[in-house]
Symmetry: C2
Subunit: 498 residues, 2 copies
């Protein structure tokens, strides 16, 4: 067995090296690369994607996987690597190499096209590109889908195994039923929280200094990670010893960079904590998009917006900005960072409205892929839904349908994992609070009590377990969105004294 | 022919994409990557180097090259691509794949080892690593070398075709004969130039701002290039639309970053100006290390340290640092930046002593490879030569034998190209001055007059011509170091009124 596994690892070494190169090109494009490079970088990335495909598709890989699947004495990590490699092969096998390569190039270019049309609010120029992207997505999902499966379900399954429309429809229905009315109640009382002090002028260099401190405080290891800047904050990882997060600083929005760094550090720490046995293997990342998002949202919201978290930290923030925060008590600071308010931009949304932004995208994707919604009608449908669920209407497509990068990358079916992440986080957080004194640890500034628990229960497994398996092992039950709904209702009833 | 060339290009696309990935990993490691990543990044780079090797060595490449070498109707660019690919194959063919890969990994790791021992001045820990590196270099040169050729000549030939010991020995002998005594004369009069004002305190952010302006002024195109920071300034290029330079800022050394940016922009503009027909082909970079260095040194010294260059620019610098430079006239500023003084560090050396630093390394390399100098004795020999040629002796190995990264990268035979670069620059500059009014253009701030001429005569050809061919076509004669010697003697006689 061992010699077969070692042989497979020689192939894995190659596929992972090419994947790391692609990740690095992606990071570099977002953070630093000169504008004129894009066209050529897209070609390079297209070529590397083909190399990756070739490496996964080598005949010996197939034979080794077939042989290794028969073995019963693989370690959990080894079994995960074989399983992931098998799945990757099966997926790629179904896509004609030429189409795969064309799509990878289109994808690399489309992000830049999107950034430009977003700046200009020019949806009309973007529509034909999106049409092409959707066409590839539909074709690829068609190649992959199981007998009788809908196209959109095949897409959803890519991002969150087994979380198909059958699970998501009732999940979003309950959100709509319980959160939309809760938001209405909250909105009525919104005059009671003034976020004005967070919009004073905050020197960007001092913000950077505080946020660097904050990342370290949370446990983001500077030996194995770096921080940079980009238009939208994101996390990427070459492997668990090279994890990268970005931020974006606004002089007049103190909390923006703070909660971005907490969020991205949540992702980053997950990556860093994956067991070293999985480093540079296809099982080396987080379990799924949703589980990844659960770790960032747990950190950002359940931990990062709690009074206990800020008790030891707030003095440091006041010290950094003495003039701006002198009159702001810890108590009112915590109320400010928990204000809920309908807004147009998902990435700036508070905890309560966030899932409604996701719901809108879910409904649109479903109609785009399995229904008969056309690309041309997208802006109108988008704006109508915002009016209906959030009570506000985008004035242009920059703050409307063009706001997210995801569709330009061909990530259709990805958005729901953002909402699932919140629900996973609430369910996991509930279990964590049964086992350790979360509030006590936060008050004492002992973040490691929490991150150690998360490493033990979630992070270290990488992709050895699926999200569903993790949830069951940690909480003793299957996915249960009730924890999330209860958490939101309890929290906002308290913040707004409803 | 065309279909065969297109077939070859499909292979070239792959080898160039992998090479671009390796370049990006190299850049990233020097500028940003977290410390703990190195070990894994080395493995990834080792794997990618193997992929590169495999791609170059594919059977079809050999057949296509053989067929295309017979064709007489290839364009100059196509012929250059075929020639470079042929040479690359022949070189790699001779090196056993396993050794090649091991060397690439060792090389990727050794740079970090070097950086650490340099910080600590710990040559003893570095010696065994250097021994291993040298061992690979010797073996590889042994595989490559022609009948009767010495090992060191085979190494030299890698960096600067046809510039073997037979050319370099008399070149360095004339430098020793004419420059060592000139330096002695200069040193006697060194009290006449006070560089004190350049060592005042200069805010690093304002330095960055000025140097960014300076890069643009020189013609470094921000659409196709980026600037970052690293321990030592360097230039790298993914292709001619993605060229990257770094700088290093010292609060108390105003001229350090200024001349670094002029130097690196010289390299960068060369890369940017290579004909687009060669983009992402093996003939896409500069003609040779020496020719590359000629373009950076021409910009840094012949242009960048001239009174005419600073006439329109100096007011801007004074404006940036009004307090520090208020009493410094243009005239005395130009004298300061041309002061020559024996020092220990090559990268900080002035124009006059620079080639002596290179000469020391040439003499040592020759003895290490073709003579019987041992790695253990390196520090002693190094220090003795500094005493002899420059009249000063390093106090420790950090400022002595450990100062350069090159040997840790296995670049043996590379240093001489630095000195050749200066000599090429003087010869090319002499020709340029016959054809265009260089001084007039500088006085008017019309840098493009100069960069256009350089693009036309040097840059655009990429690797379509060798250094020797370029020199002959531009200057009408073969390599002639007399221009360089005359330039130095004329210049320093004037600066010091000898």
């Amino acid at each position: 067995m061992n010699s077969q596994y070692e042989k497979l690892m020689r192939h894995v070494e190659k596929t992972e090296a090419i994947k790391a190169a692609l990740t690095l090109f992606g990071w570099d494009t977002e953070t630093l690369a000169p504008p004129a490079a894009v066209e050529f970088t897209s070609r390079v990335m297209g070529t590397l994607s083909s190399c990756y495909r070739e490496a996964v598709m080598e005949d010996e890989v197939k034979e080794l996987i077939a042989a290794l699947c028969e073995h019963k004495d693989l370690s959990a990590g080894q079994a995960a690597v074989v399983r992931k490699m098998k799945k990757e092969r099966e997926n790629l096998e179904k896509i004609p190499p030429k189409e795969y390569r064309e799509f990878c190039e289109l994808q690399a270019r489309a992000t830049t096209v999107w950034a430009k049309v977003k700046r200009q609010g020019d949806y009309e120029s973007f529509a034909p590109v999106l049409e092409k992207i959707l066409d590839y997505c539909r074709r690829f999902a068609g190649y992959r889908k199981k007998e009788g499966q809908s196209l959109y379900d095949a897409m959803l399954d890519e991002y969150e195994e087994s979380f198909t429309k059958e699970v998501l429809d009732p999940f979003f229905a309950s959100l709509k039923k319980e959160i939309v009315p809760l938001l209405k109640q909250v909105t009525k009382k919104n005059g009671t929280i003034d976020r004005g002090p967070l919009h004073a002028s905050f020197d960007v260099n001092r913000q950077k200094e505080f946020n660097r401190y904050l990342a370290g405080y949370l446990g983001f290891d500077a030996q194995r990670g770096v921080m940079a800047e980009s238009e939208h904050p994101f996390t990427t990882s070459l492997h668990n010893h090279d994890v990268r997060i970005t931020n974006h600083y606004y002089e007049n929005r103190l909390d923006s960079a703070i909660f971005s760094v907490i969020h991205e550090a949540g992702h980053g720490i997950y990556e860093m904590n994956v067991d070293d046995a999985l480093t540079l293997t296809p099982a080396g990342g987080g379990a799924s998009c949703g589980m990844h998002e659960s770790q960032s949202r747990l950190m950002e919201n359940m931990i990062g917006r709690s009074p206990a978290f800020w008790t030891p930290l707030y003095p440091k923030l006041k010290e950094t900005f003495p003039d701006q925060l002198s009159d702001v008590t810890l108590d009112s600071f915590v109320r400010m960072i928990n204000k809920a308010e309908p807004g147009l931009i998902r990435t700036q949304a508070d905890e309560l409205t966030y899932c409604l932004h996701v719901m809108i995208r879910y409904e649109i994707e479903k109609e785009l892929i399995d229904g008969d919604l056309g690309v041309k009608e997208l802006p109108q449908v988008w704006n109508r839904k915002y009016e209906e669920y959030l009570g506000i209407r985008p004035q242009n497509d920059t703050e409307g349908v063009l706001q997210d990068v995801h569709w330009s990358q061909g990530s259709i079916g990805y958005f729901p994992s953002y909402a699932l992440g919140n629900a996973f986080a609430a369910q996991i957080c509930h279990a964590m609070e049964q086992e350790i004194d979360v509030e006590g640890a936060l008050l004492k500034g002992e973040m490691s009590v929490i991150t150690d628990w998360l490493r033990e229960k979630v992070h270290r497994f990488g992709q050895m377990k699926t999200s569903r398996e993790l949830l069951r092992d940690i909480t003793g039950e299957d996915f249960n969105p009730r924890y999330y709904l209860d958490y939101l209702i309890r929290k906002y009833t308290k913040v707004y004294a409803l």
